[in-house]
């Protein structure tokens, strides 16, 4: 087995809602008992619909958000709970690429300086040559260094953001929906770039996305999240070939695909998920105080009595393919 560069163990995070002027606020689970590891040089996908807590997990890993409980280890060292000062040397090795390349670049800072900032903070003296190298590496024209963000298209801006993330030679990068705001023909360029850079700089990715089509094409393994819980995880091919959790089947069968009807995985999943597709809309956020039963209960058409009162645990169904569903138990 390869080394795990990152391990997340039982992290929980609740947010309190303001209940209005008179009502008490409720606390809501954004992340509920999430654990996973990422092996060095691997890409793990974190998939789920909006509001499922996937971005919060990314933020907790980077120390941008404090978990209520649980721990994050990086390279075998516990980093959650470290003070900002102690975290700084670790930060150099962990970076993030955000979804919206229009919002994540300062319009008044020249691209070269924006990319070089990470190096300066890390204490490098001469940044310009390294920045220029990285600009070439991500496929941008050489004069990019002196230009401003508004002069670039969406795809080019995302290249700038990628350059900024990898210039400090991190070991681990969180990609938070890095291609979802891009056009189709640009999407594939960026996906290929991320793959190339991963090989070249021996990077490890946590790839957060709602788009299963993209995830399938870039991730080695996948965790599927639903309302703060991981409901299924495993090798990418296993999950697409044989999704175990009703929610995963629903997700896969919902993806509009260009594959002709004969094509494999999707249709098998669609077959299995046919009933689930007409499942009711969406569950409400779960109130952590009345936490009981499977999170997917209200939408699941295969639910049974025991699903209402007991929380299914993630169980290995073979080859590290885990699902949290009572139907997987014999």
């Amino acid at each position: 087995m390869e080394n795990n560069i990152l391990a997340v163990k039982n992290i929980k995070k609740t947010f309190r809602t303001s209940g209005g002027i008179f009502a008490a606020g409720r606390s809501i689970y954004a992340v509920n008992n999430v654990s996973f590891e990422i092996g060095e040089g691997r890409t793990r996908g974190l998939v789920g619909e909006s509001g499922c807590g996937k971005t919060t997990v990314g933020k907790i890993i980077l120390g941008l958000e404090k978990p209520d409980s649980g721990e994050v280890s990086f390279n075998g060292k516990k980093i959650s709970g470290l003070a900002e000062k102690e975290l700084r040397p670790v930060r150099k090795d962990m970076q993030i690429i955000f979804q919206d390349p229009f919002a994540s670049l300062n319009p008044r800072i020249r691209v070269g300086n924006a990319i070089g900032e990470a190096l300066k903070i890390a204490g490098a003296a001469d940044t310009s040559s390294r920045v220029k190298d990285i600009i070439k590496e991500v496929g941008l024209p050489e004069d990019t260094y002196y230009r401003y963000p508004h002069e670039f298209s969406g795809g080019q801006r995302q290249r700038i953001c990628i350059a900024r993330a990898i210039v400090s030679r991190p070991k681990f990068v969180v990609c938070d929906e890095p291609v979802s705001s891009l056009d189709v023909s640009v999407q594939s360029q960026i996906i290929n770039l991320l793959k190339d850079l991963k090989d070249e700089f021996r990077l490890t990715y946590l790839f957060i996305s709602h788009d299963l089509r993209v995830v399938k094409n870039i991730c080695d393994s996948i965790s599927v999240m639903y309302y703060g819980n991981i409901v299924e995880e495993g090798e990418s091919e296993d999950i697409f070939a044989e999704p175990r959790h009703p929610y995963t089947r629903l997700l896969i069968s919902s993806v509009p695909s260009i594959a002709t009807p004969a094509a494999g995985a999707r249709n098998r999943a669609a077959e299995a998920g046919k009933k689930e597709k007409s499942a009711p809309g969406r569950a409400l956020h779960r109130n952590s105080e009345i936490e009981k039963g499977c999170a997917f209960y209200s939408r699941c058409l295969l639910r049974q009595n025991r699903c209402a009162g007991n929380i299914p645990e993630l169980r290995d169904t073979g080859r590290g393919h885990k699902a949290a569903c009572f139907l997987q138990e014999k």
């Binding site: 640009v186 709602h210 091919e237 993806v255 260009i258």
Partner: protein, 322 residues
Amino acid sequence: MREKLLNINELAVHFKLEEGIFKAVDGINISVGKKETVCLVGESGSGKTLTALAVMRLIPKPGFIAGGEVLFLGQDLLKVQEEQMREIRGARVSMVFQEPFTCLNPVYTVGDQIGESVDLHIGLKGLQKKTRVLEVLQLVGISDATRVYGAYPHELSGGMRQRVMIAMGIVSEPDLLIADEPTTALDVTIQAQILELLAALKEKLSLSILLVTHDLGIVNETGDRVYVMYSGRIMESGPKKDIFSGTKHPYTEGLLKSVPDLGPVKNRLYTIPGSIPEPLKVPGGCRFHPRCPYVMDICREKEPAETKFNGEHSAWCFRYGK
């Protein structure tokens, strides 16, 4: 051939900018038959939304319709008086927009907003109006119609809001529904529901749909016929089957090859080199030529004319003709 409900002929939408005239839609022909779902697919900036807005005569300034005609049941919508247009817009032709968050008025209840359309276009008042609104809410699959009737937009989820938008679009029983990226802001599972709803409504109400989208997966799952648009021009058009399995135009081919899909995983995705042309820097000749893998000399000099294949399948490319 089916009888056409909508015929867009040589439509041109231009923008007057300081630096010159930007031809956002540059002479395109599109038709929509009765009970047909036609998909207009393209990347951002291809002019697909402007085409939809032109049908409604809602082009934002400084844009203007520079030429062509929009024949709706034989009548040119570009020539009718604004007053008459107001009777057609929302009643005979209605539109559903991408952002269900920004398109609903936050200070009126759902019932009020749909009711306004009932009042204006059907002329029902009072209790009859309310009955009609509740009816249409149920039709779009909202089970607790009474609650939603009295709800404000912020109390509803994204999928619900989009259902409300669709309800508003179909309450006057239009002949044509224009849906501009109706599911882009929604989660996949909700997207699947909305697409199913549109397909069901098409059957129930004999509706024709012009669906504007960038997602080829959605095209494959919902469309009858497809128009592929690039930089203000149609590159290829035809029945869905022909577009997906008998692809002719290099741009369509590139798009189909480059989208990540659930099929077998490729080590590298195919990419179309370069990016879509900037507004005032549209290349001469065929506008796709700088990115085309099959580019020939003639592509740089002249714009290709339409080449017809079997049935309604056409492509605008020199590989097949003049």
